[in-house]
């Protein structure tokens, strides 16, 4: 029989969990609303908002745009961020610390401030409403996440393994490919995932540099909800919630399998 304080603790945890999850879970019933309204609780039941998401070009294009931008950002930010992590970890302690602080600023500076700066520069360079513009801005925002994830892996990586590989006949590139890379791969993968998500759900900078010809999904969600309060937004939210849950579950399972060997 659990003691009274334990029960109390359990109840408290449950309360916190409900508080954290409720706003997300509210979206699911709303997406099946029979009426064209975002009212909660929903009235009736229908799949029409899911149908709308997959058939309305406004939604499909913005979704594809976001996907393309986020995928490119994930690749570019992972490569650049990983290289930066090597530089920061292996430079002299003082230089490394300074570089790291510099590279992490996009995470610390308020998004709006960044957005204004980026917008001003993009107006001059005609990057507003272009894929290049989105990729550049989002890569900048994503690099700190990759840097932090990869640096954590590199700090526990035993560099003597590189010396050993070299003595066995491996050149520097081979050492990287066969020893360093496989051992810091978990860090790189989680960095890539963070980079993808950073870009995919970024709204502040996107609102500034978007144009009628290039909208990302968050921009489309925002304009849809301010314009016509259409439950399609809830359908999109539910789909994204499902997708991220699957990715996280897959990641956990993968991590558990690795932990066993």
């Amino acid at each position: 029989m659990p003691s009274f304080p334990r029960i109390l603790l359990g109840l408290f945890c449950l309360l916190v969990a409900v508080l954290l999850l409720a706003p997300t879970l509210v979206v699911i019933p709303m997406s099946f609303n029979g009426n064209k309204s975002l009212a909660f609780p929903p009235v009736g039941f229908s799949w029409q908002w899911y149908g709308n998401f997959f058939s309305n070009p406004d939604w499909t294009t913005s979704f594809t745009n976001s996907l393309i931008v986020a995928l490119i950002v994930a690749v570019v930010a992972t490569v650049v961020g990983t290289l930066a992590a090597f530089g920061v970890t292996r430079a002299a302690a003082r230089t490394g610390g300074l570089l790291r602080a510099l590279l992490i600023t996009p995470m610390v500076v308020p998004g709006v401030v960044l957005a204004i700066g980026i917008y001003a520069v993009y107006l001059d360079t005609h990057l507003v409403g272009t894929v290049t513009g989105f990729v550049l801005a989002h890569t900048m925002l994503a690099i700190p996440f990759v840097l932090i994830a990869v640096q954590a892996s590199l700090e526990v990586f035993d560099r003597r393994l590189e010396t050993a590989a070299s003595s066995l006949g491996a050149g520097r590139l081979t050492v990287f490919r066969t020893v360093t890379l496989p051992l810091i791969l978990p860090g790189i993968l989680s960095g890539a995932l963070f980079a993808f998500i950073t870009s995919f759900d970024e709204i502040i900078v996107a609102l500034f540099i978007t144009s009628p010809y290039l909208k990302t999904l968050p921009v489309q969600i925002y304009s849809s909800i301010t314009r016509d309060a259409d439950p399609t937004v809830a359908a999109v939210g539910t789909l994204l919630f499902l997708a991220t849950s699957l990715i996280i579950i897959a990641g956990l399972l993968f991590g558990m399998r690795r932990g066993r060997t």
């Binding site: 035993d158 003597r160 393994l161 010396t163 050993a164 590989a165 070299s166 003595s167 066995l168 006949g169 491996a170 050149g171 081979t174 050492v175 066969t178 020893v179 496989p182 051992l183 060997t261």
Partner: protein, 371 residues
């Protein structure tokens, strides 16, 4: 026994080599010649330059000045991955994401050896270190001794003409260390590869080596077989580092071909004399000393110094005593099983023959605590 093929070991020639890190000189003008197939141990306290020498041979650092040849060819500027040298590290350095089999196959894969040939050579190398049953395990599933055996197999599987070992047994307990010493000796005998072994443990050096180079303060003090170093140390440092010893100091005089030292009210005679005008000290090995009751059993010609027993240690195979002599010097004496026992505080004499004293020039730098 199914060992990798006998290879011809490489000779190493180091001439006037120095290594400087900024203002610090890690290695000062050393000369070292290692013969093909030899087991050479670089012995010395930490910071003496032995590991620096190994890193130079391996190509992990470059020499600041001097010449380094392996197998008759200069390797200056040649990166480590092109030197074809096996290296075993103190911390094993097995790749944690590869099985034992993959670890050992790694250098073969890099050399383009594939398929059955590779399998056969991996198995042969693992057989040699008695680890064939563990090929599918990961390094973190093995004990330290097992990991080091795998590391040894990995360093030898590509038949390098030279194997370097940097304190490979330093992290293991005593029993395991002694067993692996014999394994390493056996493998060296079977292969004919040149082995260069770094250690700070003089007993390990004596067990393993054909010859030993004794390092101190970035220089080599002496190179020789274990017996040569023990019986005829060139410097006080070598005499004290190899084996146990008692150092006698005092005012000394030369009489004919003998050196006579006055210690307190006693006189000690040693055969021979030092060249030049260095101040002599006398080095005495514990097994050359007899322990006697004060004034008893006098033998003609022997030296006697009196003192009291300061420490008595029973070792099973005999006893070890520390005797505090009248001038305060601590003398170390080993007495065999069956010799009469002494207790702490007993008044005793230590007795030894003039021929058993080793005469060496005094050297204050040899007095650092040796651990």
């Amino acid at each position: 026994m199914n060992a990798p093929q006998r290879s011809t070991g490489a000779a190493i020639e180091i001439r006037k080599a120095s290594k400087r890190y900024g203002a610090f000189t890690a290695l000062n003008d050393i000369d070292l010649h290692i013969r093909p197939g030899e087991f050479m141990t670089l012995l010395g306290p930490s910071g003496s330059g032995k590991t620096t020498t190994l890193n130079l041979i391996a190509g992990f650092t470059d020499i600041s000045s001097g010449a380094l040849e392996i197998g008759g060819k200069s390797v200056t500027g040649l990166p480590s991955h092109k030197r074809n040298i096996g290296v075993v590290f103190q911390h094993y350095a097995l790749f944690p994401h590869m099985t034992v089999g993959k670890n050992v196959a790694y250098p073969l894969t890099l050399r383009g050896i594939k398929g059955d040939d590779r399998e056969r050579r991996v198995k042969r190398a693992l057989d040699m270190v008695k680890m064939a049953d563990f090929a599918h395990r990961y390094p973190n599933e093995l004990s330290g001794g097992q990991q080091q055996r795998v590391a040894l197999a990995r360093a030898l599987v590509f038949d390098p003409p030279l194997l370097l070992m940097d304190e490979p047994l330093g992290a293991l307990d005593k029993k395991l260390r002694e067993w692996l010493q014999l394994e390493i000796k056996r493998i060296h005998r079977e292969l004919g590869t040149t082995f260069v072994y770094v250690t700070h443990d003089q007993e390990e050096a004596l067990v393993l080596s054909d010859r030993i180079a004794v390092f101190n303060g970035g220089r080599i003090e002496q190179i020789g077989t274990g017996r040569e170093l023990y019986d005829n140390p060139a410097t006080l440092f070598v005499g004290r580092f190899i084996g146990e010893s008692t150092v006698l100091r005092g005012a000394s005089d030369v009489s004919g071909n003998d050196t006579i030292m006055t210690i307190g009210s006693d006189r000690v005679v040693a055969h021979g004399r030092l060249a030049g005008d260095a101040r002599p000290v006398m080095l005495l090995r514990p097994e050359r000393v007899a322990l006697k009751r004060a004034g008893a059993d006098v033998v003609t010609g022997e030296n006697r110094l009196s003192g009291t027993i300061a420490e008595a240690i029973y070792l099973g195979s005999g006893s070890k005593y520390e005797v505090r002599l009248n001038d305060g010097t601590i003398a170390v004496v080993r007495s065999p099983l069956g010799a009469s026992d002494f207790a702490i505080g007993d008044s005793v004499d230590i007795a030894f023959m003039p021929a058993d004293l080793i005469l060496l020039p005094d050297d204050a730098s040899a007095d650092v605590t040796l651990t």
